[in-house]
Amino acid sequence: MDLRFRDAEPTAEERAVVDALLGAPSSAWDGGERTEFDLRFATQAPRVARDRRDLLLPALHAVNDRVGWISEGALDYICRRLTIPPAEAYSVATFYSLFSVKPRQARMLHVCTDLACAAKGAEAVRRDVEERFGPPGVSWQPSPCLGLCERAPAALAIEAGDPPVNAVYGPCSVGQEWSATTEEPPVEAAVPQTRACRQAPARPAPTAERLAHEGQAPPGEAAQEVSSDDGRSAGPSELVLLRRIGVVDPLSLDDYRATGGYTGLRRAFELGPTGVIREVLESGLVGRGGAAFPTGRKWEATARQLDRPHYLVCNADESEPGTFKDRVLMEGDPFALIEAMTIAGYANGCALGYLYIRGEYPRALQRLENAIVVAKSRGLLGDDILGQGFSFDIEIRRGAGAYICGEETAIFNSIEGFRGEPRTKPPFPVEKGLFGKPTVVNNVETLVNVPHILEMGAAAYAAVGTSSSTGTKLFCVSGTVERPGIYEVPFGATLRDLLDLAGGATGELRAVLLGGAAGAFVRADELDIPLTFEGTRAAGATLGSGVVLVLNDTVELPGVLLRIAEFFRDESCGQCVPCRVGTVRQEEALHRLSKRRSEGDLVLLREVGQAMRDASICGLGQTAWNAVESAIDRLGVFTAKESS
């Protein structure tokens, strides 16, 4: 490929960080010094480099992490190293909000102004920061949800350097010190239920027969049968997915194994790939990322594909406003995700899995990196796992601030080094996914269920919850509520049960946003909605990613709706017209409506919303109008029904 560059040169530092990632260049053909030899002979280096386009995103991260922004010299050097046209690399770099192609300060403060934080006074914090540091873009910027909702209002500082330093703040207050070092509370602070059950960590009782097979001692008195007595109660003894949070050291593989870790994988090797898929099918597990697609069916379809290799992608790009369950799982029980991915790789015939984690989760990233290194050193990842002849590896890819990359096909483009724009379906990922090969994409919470299914057996798993929503579910309770945090309850508990568990709303409960920005509002008198996929659907709502955002009467609903519209306008990738322009027009209409009521603007919202739902390429545009619509229809915002 004939690349043309302008005369921008990288600094020595920029060159060094790129070389640290990619290795030194072999010749002038892939970015090295030009020698007499290079003038006379071409080499294969550019072709080899071109096949590693997927290293573009890590290379951009490397420069951004060290320098704080991506200069033209640095971008050109990355392009020379990977044989990428500079216009394309520029288009990728400008797609992500954590990157800048303009100079800025090394330390950037990201102040969350999203729904959960807004309900807890983020606007005052934002104004305070603006007064102290000046207009956004140079040393601070407002941010979409940072996934720190239990500590709302929250902020994240990212300071470029060697090494880059991150600091997490929350709850923030006006006049807050933004010092470089903050003590982040332990992850279990986000899980109120664990405090109650730390004395009696519950885990499923392995059958005697299976224990004998594994030669393991029974876990003794701590073991309790996991099943819900009436499907509605939600006592701490039933924690399954959260059982290790705050109980084990997240950096310790020994701790993980001492609490039943890797029994799922051993069981998987006994069952064989088809056996694992059968168990997952029979368990009734459905995806927890928002779409609720049956996991077993996805796996069955992928495993069946003749085209090789197969890939596994773990979607840890948790960005739905109000969602932080995956962060808590990854920070508190990272080995569980590594084990789950290994099982999924085994069942689906994958040799490589990508773990795509959002860029705003530094602590989760660090713990997963540790878990991968440790698992590899103990033969639980890499070649010939547990002597079973199965080889599987995990590569971590860090997102860079783009909600859309959580879409199941946009995540492929992002990993491959292209703009994170969703692809047209069909073809579906099970046929043509990552690198055009059959790919299974699963959310973190979905995967983490799998070792438990194998441990307890599909039937026992399916006995928990309701007939069409099996197992337990993590809910991200945030907003104006007594004890915000992650709660695990069996499917079938009602919204009221969950809110009781969280200590109830503070103040007068006005509404609950279920499912996040792409979800729906329910009224204070609808708390008996069962939290199941079918129950919320029947009520015209959705579980989505498990967001339960509680809003009391002090929260201005029009402001919340405006923030939702702003979120989608910011996060639309811009590929298709209904979403790219529709989100802008909806935001404009909501601005007008927040000042004065107008039938015309309501009609306009509905008409644009209908076209977005019908004609957008992906789920972002198709669902962007859901929450606003439900607020108008159910809560009566902007209409005569409004009881203000």
Partner: protein
């Protein structure tokens, strides 16, 4: 000129607007609808490019599907029941035209006015304060102008410049969402970029955002008049490839060069010489 025949394909049965029809396997719904004589508007669809299906103006309703399908890229499947003119499809087309019409200057987009009328689209309904993509035209070379106030982000120029035709990769989409634009790296002038001035992006642009400098100047001056133009297709005389040139002539002067898209050799693509190197034809020696 012979167009190579494609190998025969199996016929599959679908229903379009209540009428059963048989179409070759692999055809898109747009192919089928055109065969059936249905008029479906398209903007980002290009007859020489892989469909990007970004504009969503060609959506049709497929029975049983949750969302509408872009006709330009959705392949016909046996038993599909397609409605091209349903309430839902017409509504989406209307709104898409309104969204585009309110944010982009469609004054030089062929058919835009007729479609607006047909679907009852009223771009003015979003008010005078509706955000637009307006920006001054980029004039950084003598051959063609980039007037991105007219750009609907259909990706066709990017695809034609990149791997689908020219392999120059001089331009791509920069930014995200409504702020996305077609751009070179760091918004460099075209003359500093990888652009080879083949003009194949101009050839595929559906809105006139990309136009010959010639045409741009004449439109500014008010002298551009397609009614007075003739089109003559000839063979480029620069080399032996034999590309076809269609010379657009107004008042006995070549004002624009295009190339027939059905040409089996070049599919509408030219190089800088064929596209822009016509001035010598009309130079008149001053000394007689």
């Amino acid at each position: 000129m012979s167009v190579p025949l494609r190998p025969p394909r199996r016929l599959i049965e679908i229903t379009v607007d209540g009428e059963a029809m048989r179409v070759p396997e692999g055809d898109t719904l747009l192919d089928a609808c055109q065969t059936a004589g249905k008029d479906i508007p398209t903007l980002c669809y290009g007859d020489t490019l892989n469909p990007k299906n970004a504009c969503r103006v060609c959506v049709v309703e497929v029975e049983g599907a949750r969302t509408l399908a872009p006709a330009c890229s959705r392949k016909a499947e046996p038993g599909m029941v397609v409605k091209t003119d349903s309430e839902r499809a017409r509504h989406s087309r209307k709104v898409v035209l309104e969204l585009l019409g309110s944010s982009v200057d469609l004054s030089t987009t062929p058919n835009a006015k007729e479609w607006m009328a047909e679907y009852g689209a009223d771009p003015a309904r979003f008010g005078e304060d509706a955000a637009t993509v307006a920006e001054p035209p980029k004039v950084d070379n003598d051959l063609y102008v980039r007037d991105y106030a007219k750009c609907i982000l259909c990706y066709k120029c990017v695809d034609a410049c990149g791997e689908q035709w020219q392999n120059s990769f001089a331009i791509s989409v920069a930014g995200r969402g409504f702020d996305a634009t077609i751009s070179t790296e760091f918004d460099a002038p075209l003359t500093d970029s990888a652009c080879v001035f083949c003009g194949n992006c101009v050839e595929v642009c559906p809105t006139g955002a990309l136009s010959f400098k010639n045409e741009f100047d004449m439109r500014e001056a008010g002298t551009w008049d397609e009614e007075r133009q003739t089109q003559t297709t000839t063979i480029c005389s620069y080399c032996g490839v034999g590309c076809n040139l269609t010379l657009h002539v107004q008042d006995n002067t070549i004002v624009k060069v295009t190339s027939p898209h059905d040409n089996p050799v070049t599919h509408g693509n030219l190089c800088i010489k064929g596209r822009f190197g016509f001035q010598h034809v009309q130079n008149v020696a001053s000394d007689g």
